[in-house]
Structures are given as C-alpha cells and as structure tokens.
Amino acid sequence: MLTEKNARSELMARGCEACHGPGAEHVEEEGTGGRMITFSNASPHRIEEGKAACLSCHERGSRVHWKGSPHDSRDIACTDCHTIMKKVSTRDQLSHPTELQLCGSCHLVRRAQMFRNAHMPVREGAMTCSSCHAVHGTVNLALVRHDTVNDNCYSCHAEKRGPFLWEHAPVNENCLDCHDPHGSTRAAMLRLTPPRLCQQCHIETRHPTEARLPQSKFVIGHSCMNCHSNIHGSNHPSGFGFTR
C-alpha cells in the first residue's frame, strides 16, 4: 500500500490519487461527482488514461519498448493483465493465478501446446511464458526477449551457440526451422518426424534420399541423428557431416 511513509516521489505520496487522479470533488459530492481515473472494463477511458497512469511510474525497464509494441497497438490495457487491488497471483500482480493461464486466455492454442507430449517444462512450473517473451515490448518479432530467437534459446542452451568449425547453416539462423518450442507431438519438439524433417532440405544421393520403411535403422531410435548426432554443429576436424 502506498503511503507517505514509503513513497519515493511526490506522486506516490498521494496514495490513491497517484493512480486515480484528484479525488476532492469526488469526495465532496459523496462519490457522485468528479471524474476519477478508473480501470474497470466499464470505464470508457480505461485504456489510454489507465496506461498513462501506470506508465507515469513504470516506464523504465521492459516498458521502454511498450509504446508501439504489439500489445500496446492492439489497445491491451495494463489492467487487462494486472490487477492492483487484490492478490490473484503470487508475483507481479497478475490478473490470473499463473502466467500460463493469463497468456492462455487470449493465446488459447499456445496454452494447449504446453500439454503436448514433447514440451518445455512450462506446465511443470519450471518455465513461464515470460522466460522467453517480454510481453511489454522488445526489439524482436513475437516479443521474443533477446535480440534473436536463437539468442533466446542460447540463454539456456549455450552449448549450441558455437561458433563451430562445421556449422549447420540453418541452425545459426533460426532454431524454429526444426523445433516448435511451444510443444509438439513429435519427440524433441521437432516439427516433423525424422527423417522427414531432414529430407525437407537434403536430397543428396544415397541413403538420405530413400523414404525408408518405418522399421529401418534410419528411422527408429534417433533416426538421422543415429549417426549425425552433432547436428547443431561440430568442432571435430573430421566432423563436417556432424558425425563426430
């Protein structure tokens, strides 16, 4: 609760008025007069006035990219995701108990993907949407937190960052070429079942080009990665085929 004792600015010291604006007229007319800033769905001004009220204190940090961000440009109000007057979540004053529930209220398919067989540990609570996305705005598409999708992935999977002696070119460009980090029916969150995944781009001769029977050693186990196991890049002098 904001009070004069814990306020660190003149605005904060105003208590309720810090967010709701001047309330003298409202009080004098016993709740019927004046126009205070309100944040409920019923308020006709809630989006712009509400955002301005919040940003008057919270413009730093990740909010520096808020203006013009995808959520801002679609008129998402701060109070669509945050609630101030009651405690719903343990952290960040979210309007839902968890981030997955909050983000999933609009991104229904993304929430559903978390329940797929191959998934990140989001439903187990070890990751949240904001582990990868900065929802207030970023310099990247899809509100990805880091400079690129790959930088995002490397923040936990730095072993795949390289640079390697032998690079697998698409790996440097976009992890999403092969993986769906929101969840997949295919192992390792792959977009397709190998060898089909690899055969999208490899029609060299010999063994890579055969469609293969399902019991084939080129399909079962780790499929192409039964041999090409360093598929993200190799630092072995003889590893140009990612086999070493």
Binding site: R60, S73, C106, A211, Q215, I220
Partner: protein
C-alpha cells in the same frame, strides 16, 4: 532419480524454521504460508515421461512462502520454497526496500529424464571413456561374416545393463536492483546453469550410413551469465545501457566409445574406438544501448532506438582427426592450427517511431537490422577420416556462413468510433546470406491488416490478416560445394550433391496467407466466453522438390461461468491441424558416382498433426469459509501422421531393386506410410480443502495422471534390433548397430496427498 530422504527431511525442517523465524518480532506485518504434507502414489510410473521434468515421489513434501514487511511498508523480506528436498526443489529469497532496492537470490533444480529403459553393454572407465566387453569385441572382430557378427552382437546385447538417461539442471541466480533516484535504476544479476548426468548420443562407424552405436554420453556443463543494466527515465527521455556476458564451459571436450565390432584398430576395416567431440567452451559478450525520446510536436510522438553489439568466441583446442592409431599419423591429417579461433560479431539496430497526429490516428514505423557477421577463419583440411575408419585426402574447408536481416514495416490505425479500429500497413523482410547458401538474397513484401471491434463494453472481436510474398535471387544449388571443396573437385561432386531442383524451405520463394480471429464476450458478470481461430497457408510455388505446401489451422474456445457465489466453472477446448507436403527423389548410386536420377523414383510425403486439448475446472464452496472442493481435468490427444507414396515405375539401381514391390510395377522411392504417433494425456485432480480456522487449512488431494504414448521409433526398442538394417524393398541385412533401447513408455498414476497449510 537420486533419493535423498534424510536430506529432504532436514531441508523441510530448515525451511519451516526459517519461515517461523521470519515471524514478526515487532509490529511488523507477516503474510506467510507453510505447507507440509505426505503423499502416496500407486500405479505404473516407470515411464520417463512421468518424471520428465519433476520429482514426484511418495513421501513427505512441503514448502513455504512468506512476505515480511515492517510496519510502515518500507522494507520487506520475501521468500518461497517449493518441493523442498526433492530433485525439483526451488528456493527464492528477496529483501529490500520497496521502490529503493531489492536483493534477490534463487536456487532451483530440475531433472530432465530421457528414458528409464535404456540399456547398454558399454561401461564407463573414467568420465568419458566407454568400454565394450573385450571378449565380445574380439569375437565380433574374428567372426567370418556379417550374419555371424550380427548373431553374436544380438546375443551379447541381450545382457545389456540398465543405465539412467537423465541429467540434473541446477540453477543459481543472485542479483541486485537499486533505484538511487526516482529516475535512475541499476540492475545486475549473476546466473549459473549447471548440468550433469547423461544424455543419449550416437557415433557412426563404418561407411556413411554404416553401423552406429547409441550410447549414454556424459554431461558436465556449466553456463555462467552476468547482466548489468542502467536505466534512466526523466521527462521525454528514456535511456538504457546494458551488458550481457554468457560463458559456457564444458568439462568434457570429447567422448571416446569402443566400437563393438573391433578390438583392434584397422586402417581399412574400422577402428577399435570412435571419438566424438562435445560442445566446445564458448563465450559471448553483448552490449546494448536503448534511447527513447518524446518528440516535441504538438501531438504525442516518440522515437525509440536500440543498438546492440555482440561478440561470440570459441577457441577450444581441436581434437586429432581420429582415434584410430593406424590412421592418426597420416601426414594429410596434420591440423592447420590448434584451435578454430572462432569469432562471430552481431550487430542489431532497431528504430521504432510512433505518433498520434490525430486522436483517431496512430502511426508506427519500424526498422530492424541484424547482422550475423561470422569472422571465423576459413581453414583448409587436406585430409580427414570418415567415422574413424576411412582416410580421405579430399580437401575440405569450413564454411563460416553469415547473414544479414533487415525488416521494416509501416502501419497506421484509425479509430472510426470508440468501438471500431482498423489497422494496416506494408512490411518488408530481407535476408542476405553469404555465398555458401543457395540464395544470396531473399525479399518478402507484404501487408498486415487488423480490425478491432468493440461493439459493446462486453464484447471484443479481433481479426488479423497477413499476406507475404517472398522471392529470392537465383537458386544456386552448388554454392556450398564450391565453398567447402577444392575447386578441382566440385564438378565431380555435383552429380552426387543436392538435387538441382530442390528448394530449401527457408530459402524458397513463398506466398503466405495468415488469418487470425479472437472473440471475447462478457455478456454477464458471471459469464465470459472466448473463441479463437487461425488459418495459415504457406505455399512454395517454385519448389518442385522440398517443402511444397504447408497449411495450419486451429480453433479454440473457453468459457468461464460463475452462476452462484459458491460455484465456478471454466472449460476450454482447442484443436490444431498441421499439414505439410514435401517431395523428394530416391537417388541411388552405383559404384563411385553413377547416379540413377530418374523422376520415376520420386516420392511425396505428407506430415499431418491433429491435436485436441480440453480442460475443465470446477470450484465449489460447500461450506462458506470452511469447506471447498475443486476439480481439474485436462485431456490432450495428439496424432502425428507421416504418409508417403511414390511414383509408379521405380527405377532403382539395378532397375527394380529397392522398389516396392520390386519389378516393373514398383512404387518409386520406397515410400510407405509410417505408423501414426499418438499420445493421450489425462490429468485429473480433486482437491478438498477444510479451513480449520483462520490460520490452518487441511487439504486432501486425489490426482489421476495417465499418458498413453505410441511412437513407433522407440516403442519396443531394444539395444539390438535385428530387422532394422532393411532397404526399401524389404530386404533385411544382418544388423550390426547398437541402440540404447531408450523407450519412453506409458504411465498411469493415482496420487493421494494430505497436507496442512498454516498461514501466519
């Protein structure tokens, strides 16, 4: 999973004591909760999927969280402990002064279990040397033919021992957030990620596509990350500078694994061991500056720019070309230098300008430039060794590919009325890639349009449409060969290189259409409804081979209903359909380079995913402030299909070979359907809470969790798979490969838990 019951009990006691000690000594305010309980689990929980990312064991469990504030609400101490003593335990502590500074620290553990069924005959001799029984190696080497070797290998692998295939991730994070002034903020943090355990890895032996060994590779890695940021905001200015350092260290640079088929090295028949490199140590330093300024126009306008520079380096010493003692000394295998001295510099520039010249009009312009400049030196390797077996004097150069990406967009939105807003504008996305890639420049032009309707305060409709048309410069299928091979060898390599008509999907011409719809309705205080749908079509009009068509659509709905004070219901459902079509060609080679390159060997494949997900929650207050009951149920069913068919008249080499069925009526490309991959997940929980008093709640829970999984690639997989060395026409050759048998498996678990929750 490591069992640490004693440690768990001690940790629980310590957590409870710590929380109790945090109790207010003066007129402070404490909001705290301590949870302590026990659970029993019955059912089949041996599947690795059950504890893939968690440690869910019978026994005592507990946790706590608290917030302690001084009477004035100025200083605070916050803490949260979860799954104390378990392998997925988490601890977090924060202390500080609201709005002034915050010290924070976290420690968490997370298991990642790959399989509980893996078996191997390899044993560890030291951390990164895996030995196969000498007697069996010797017998396999001495065996007269492949059939005898296969029989020996199969008999030997029948005695393979179980090996855990999992690693543990330990994360530590500490930091400080400090606001010395209202307009200034510092934040610095340190994080370490420590992984140790074993994960599946593989090593090929023999000729490419020959024999291989799956093994449990040791994992002993650590990433240290440091961040420091300074943020300033005053008046129209908003400035930030930041640093990110990430340092990856791997205690293991390689793993050496016995070749089951040979006890001794041979210069022609294969090595006694193979050696594979593990991820090299690497480091990244990144600096970033962001500035935003409210422009002094007569209307709201702002420009925000970000520049970032990153440097990635890697100079791990090279391993020798081979562990095969009979080849290692060949003069062609002298390394050109002792390490790569790999270096990548990244540059990012981002500019976003926003303006509202009229109350109804919003304008946005965005430009983003990202340069991945790979300064890694090009090294020439005059020789190499294929799979530690075959010496080749074909020159190879590494190809440090790099790229630039530029993106720009303009969009404007107009509020026709308070409830109708239309938004749209063009965008451009360009990739410029180094010449080793097939397409040096790829441009996508398109437009995005969005309509937001708020016909009433209780209704919202959002619709989006995107059209993008991507075209590239001429597709050069041989550019990679020219970059990596000696020029004199390129012409010879082209016939066995990529099919010239292939268009890789990330470089191919493409037309994409995407539509999204979201509707949210709040017709009554006690009812909210959502509906979402999406459709996307990625068409590759000039791709005769490779990915040709990709269609995705989805639909979802959610309802929340609270008709009575004591009853709340919510339910959601989502369906997703993904379908991708690709075309390829079976290209057999006879002899060294006589390629049968015939369209009758073409094959098509369609990969389809159909996924249903359903969730239901029901909350009942049976006796107000005394007794409540919750039910939660989630069901997911995923179906992954991989279908294929070939052109008629397969022309293998020799004709008719490797076709289905062999002969003139063959179905080209040896292209049957794969069995479907299916998973069905059910998560059910019923939770009864009895609030004994203001401070104490007793909670009883019953949960049922069930996963049924069919994945033909690992179902029933054993270390030895006698039928796996099969060609397209079904001819089975003796198998000489070693798998881990790393099946996944189903689980069904009944979990009963009783816990007490005490609130201070």
């Amino acid at each position: 999973m490591e069992r640490r019951s004693a440690a768990r009990g001690l940790a629980l006691a310590a957590a409870a004591c710590f929380t109790a000690l945090a109790a207010p000594a003066r007129a402070d305010v404490l909001d705290a909760e301590v949870r302590l309980g026990g659970r029993v689990i019955s059912g089949d929980t041996h599947s690795s999927k059950f504890e893939e990312y968690r440690d869910l064991e019978p026994g005592v469990f507990g946790g706590a969280d608290f917030l302690l504030e001084d009477g004035n609400g100025v200083t605070f101490l916050w803490g949260a402990f979860d799954d104390v003593g378990y392998d997925d335990q988490r601890y977090a502590l924060e202390a500080g002064q609201w709005g002034r500074f915050r010290l924070f620290g976290e420690y968490s553990e997370l298991p990642h279990v790959f399989s509980n069924h893996a078996r191997t005959l390899h044993s560890y001799a030291g951390q990164n040397l895996l030995l196969f029984p000498d007697a069996l190696q010797g017998a396999l080497e001495a065996a007269p033919d492949a059939a005898t070797r296969s029989a020996l290998l199969g008999a030997g692998l029948a005695d393979a021992d179980r090996i855990p295939l999992e690693y543990q991730l330990r994360t530590t994070r500490v930091g400080l957030l400090f606001d010395p002034r209202e307009d200034l903020e510092f934040e610095t943090a340190y994080r370490s990620l420590d992984r140790s355990g074993r994960k599946p890895l593989s090593l090929g032996f023999g000729s490419p596509g020959g024999t291989f060994v799956n093994f449990a590779s040791p994992v002993d890695e650590r990433t240290d990350e440091v961040t420091a940021d300074v943020r300033f905001a005053r008046g129209p200015w908003n400035l930030e500078v930041g640093y990110l350092g990430s340092f990856f260290g791997n205690d293991l640079t390689q793993v050496t694994v016995d070749n089951p088929l040979r006890l001794t090295d041979s210069a022609t028949a294969g090595p006694a061991q193979g050696r594979i490199s593990l991820a090299p140590d690497n480091r990244m330093n990144q600096f970033r500056a962001t500035g935003a300024y409210e422009l002094p126009f007569g209307f709201p306008a702002r420009v925000a720019t970000t520049f970032s520079y990153g440097l990635r380096e890697q100079d791990e010493n090279f391993l020798p070309h081979t562990v095969n003692s009979l080849l290692a000394g060949d003069p062609s295998l002298v390394l050109p230098r002792e390490d790569l001295d790999g270096k990548v510099q990244t540059y990012l520039a981002h500019v976003l300008a926003t303006a509202r010249p009229l109350p109804e009009l919003d304008l946005r312009a965005r430009y983003r430039f990202y340069d991945f400049e790979n300064d890694t030196p090009v090294l020439e390797f005059p020789g190499h060794v294929v799979n530690d077996q075959t010496l080749s004097t074909e020159l190879r150069r590494n190809v440090p590919n790099d790229y630039e990406r530029q993106q720009a967009s303009l969009d404007a939105s107009w509020r026709f009325t308070r409830g109708v807003k239309l938004q749209g504008g063009p965008f451009w996305d360009q990739w410029s890639r180094s010449r080793d890639r097939e397409v040096s420049r790829l441009d996508e032009y398109g437009g995005k349009f969005a309509l937001d309707l708020r016909p009433a305060r209780w209704a919202l409709v959002r619709a989006d449409y995107l059209l993008g048309i991507r075209k590239g410069t001429a597709y050069q299928p041989w550019d990679f060969l020219e970059a990596t091979l000696d020029p004199a060898e390129v012409d010879g390599a082209i016939p066995t290189g990529q099919l010239a008509e292939l268009r890789k999907f990330d470089e191919a011409d493409r037309t994409r259409n995407e539509i999204r719809l979201l509707t949210q309705l709040l017709p009554r205080e006690d009812l909210d409804l959502s509906f979402s749908a999406g459709w996307a079509h990625y068409d590759y009009p000039h791709s005769s081979y490779g990915v040709r068509d990709d269609v995705r659509w989805n639909a979802g709905t959610e309802i929340g209903y609270q008709p009575l004070e004591w009853l709340a219901l919510s339910a959601w459902y989502s369906f997703e359909h993904l379908s991708l079509q690709q075309k390829s060609r079976w290209r057999p080679v006879a002899g060294a380079a006589t390629v049968t390159d015939d369209p009758v060997n073409d094959w098509n494949s369609e990969s389809t995913d159909l996924v249903h997900t359903l969730g239901v929650n029901l909350d009942l207050v049976i006796v107000p402030e005394k007794l409540d009951l919750s039910f939660l149920y989630t069901f997911e069913r995923g179906n992954g299909q991989t279908h294929a068919e070939g052109a008629a008249g397969c022309n293998g080499s020799p004709p008719g070979d490797l076709c289905i069925p062999a002969g003139p009526d063959a179905d080209g490309g040896n292209a049957p359907n794969f069995p479907d991959i299916e998973d069905r997940l059910q998560l059910f929980a019923a939770i009864l809470r009895y609030h004994v008093g203001e401070h104490l709640t007793l909670e009883g829970m019953y949960a049922f969790q069930k996963l049924s999984l069919q994945d033909f690639r690992v179902d029933g997989l054993d270390p030895f798979e006698p039928g796996s060395n099969v060609n397209g026409s079904g001819v089975v050759s003796p198998s000489l490969d070693v798998f881990l048998g790393d099946r996944l498996g189903d689980y069904d678990a009944h979990i009963f838990a009783l816990s007490a929750i005490y609130r201070f």
